[in-house]
Symmetry: C2
Subunit: 323 residues, 2 copies
Amino acid sequence: MTDVPAVQAPLVQDWIDRAKRADPRAVARLISWIEDSSPAVPEVMAQLAPTAGRARVIGLTGAPGVGKSTTTSALIAGYRKRDQRVGVIAVDPSSPFSGGALLGDRIRMQDHALDDGVFIRSMASRGHLGGLAATTPQAVRVFEAAGVDVVIIETVGVGQSEVEVAGTADTTVVLLAPGMGDGIQAAKAGILEVGDVFCVNKADRDGADSTAREVRHMISLADRDPHRWEPQVVKAVASRGEVDELLAVIDLHQEWLTEDDRLEQRRQRRATEEITALTLAHFRRRIGTDGHQQLLVLAQAVATGSLDPYSAADRLIATIGED
Amino acid sequence: MTDVPAVQAPLVQDWIDRAKRADPRAVARLISWIEDSSPAVPEVMAQLAPTAGRARVIGLTGAPGVGKSTTTSALIAGYRKRDQRVGVIAVDPSSPFSGGALLGDRIRMQDHALDDGVFIRSMASRGHLGGLAATTPQAVRVFEAAGVDVVIIETVGVGQSEVEVAGTADTTVVLLAPGMGDGIQAAKAGILEVGDVFCVNKADRDGADSTAREVRHMISLADRDPHRWEPQVVKAVASRGEVDELLAVIDLHQEWLTEDDRLEQRRQRRATEEITALTLAHFRRRIGTDGHQQLLVLAQAVATGSLDPYSAADRLIATIGED
């Protein structure tokens, strides 16, 4: 088990109150607690429940090098012009072992470092027991308590993380760049299935139109359900701040969401995933505590072939399940 | 819940016996059961326990486009020359929702389609409750029962999947290609921390030497623990079958593993992860069955802000934990 420092209750209350007043240090502190699985988190979440769900949540994902940070920065500028407060969660799926978050291209967001209507926060995607599915919505709640209107969750990567982002976000934007490889690669990354909006960034470069065309073509091949949102394809040059088309189509998607009870449905699904993640985290924790010694013995038996993994799991379940 | 067709017990025994005689259809069938979480799997695993651990397991990972399938094909040829039987698990991290496996570049492995000493199998990385951490080692056991000497687990992707592959493999090979982007991108992908061997493929292209140099440089910057294996960097032109250097350094790593009790330690750790994954899958299944109705009610309360997710998880845990 990680050694989690105890946080005194009055101090917890103080930090929560300060976060609600949009004190950036308190916002950062609360999110650090979430990252570190601090024992204070359940109390924090209980107090932040009333403001939950007030922000629009945008997921921004794409392969390395497509310009995610630059685009995030341009989107921030766009929302700030509309006088909206923006929170950014930059998820770093790397460093599964160190738990640290690289700040490399975060630097591009420094433009907004002195703007008190903007909160930017890196989060490691690993190390936390509940994973992204648990930590991201909690960080969103902290931003919401601080009065944030729009939350942008930026993830690097292909695979697990953008799927989890799609689970958390109201609108998922998949960023592409010209010449990113052929259709099979795009399909492989599974991005076609998670994106509400596809944005071809660096649209001033050669090949932007053909990349956009190709994505449109692939979308057109997918099964059409008239009740579902049809993914839109737009272009941007984020480095020059040219993201108007992207902003407009995000608005469009969010308007669509508010029709019928789509937004409520999405958020209920998100809550389902979050509760599931926290529940599984509980059992994982019990494996690490009450089940730890037994697991080591069982693993030795499985490794040497004297026991099969299912029988081993059955024995562990018996230990973990009882309270 | 997915609708799992019942498999009759005598039939199960028949398929297991045939798999042990290296019947390719039976091997494929058993792996399909694993993918589909068939109720027959625990019995299969119980019977395959004695042969568990006999094969060397090589993980091969890297970004899309570096030539993983071509390299796998060249490695197969290399091991076949040594008269070793080879099993390939090609993990497809895409299509989280469809569950299907794209066969696009699998076609390159057709060279070995008629060789009865080679088993090639695609597996979807999602859909299965235990995830890769549970399915991959089980598929390895099926190959081992069929007399396979070397298992190659090939994964596309950056993030979750290659970390799980590193957990399953004895030796993890990270494949790179010239001009794959700068050092920060490599570090982001987390690959530096999982690779035992780094192989710059397409080494006949410009930039191969500088890519190799850069990786060597980044390895040299990492903390040095004299008891740990120092990751090796080699070059290959897999499309021309030039993978001798790679084969040699994999051998070297596996010799190193057999010293002291390193291999046992790795395999025990792998068993630990596998048992943990199966145990968590059990609880996840219980959430989907006994906890399902309650979860929907709790999620609604969380989505509307009348309940916080931790309190919701506590209630669900009380339901799931009891038998």
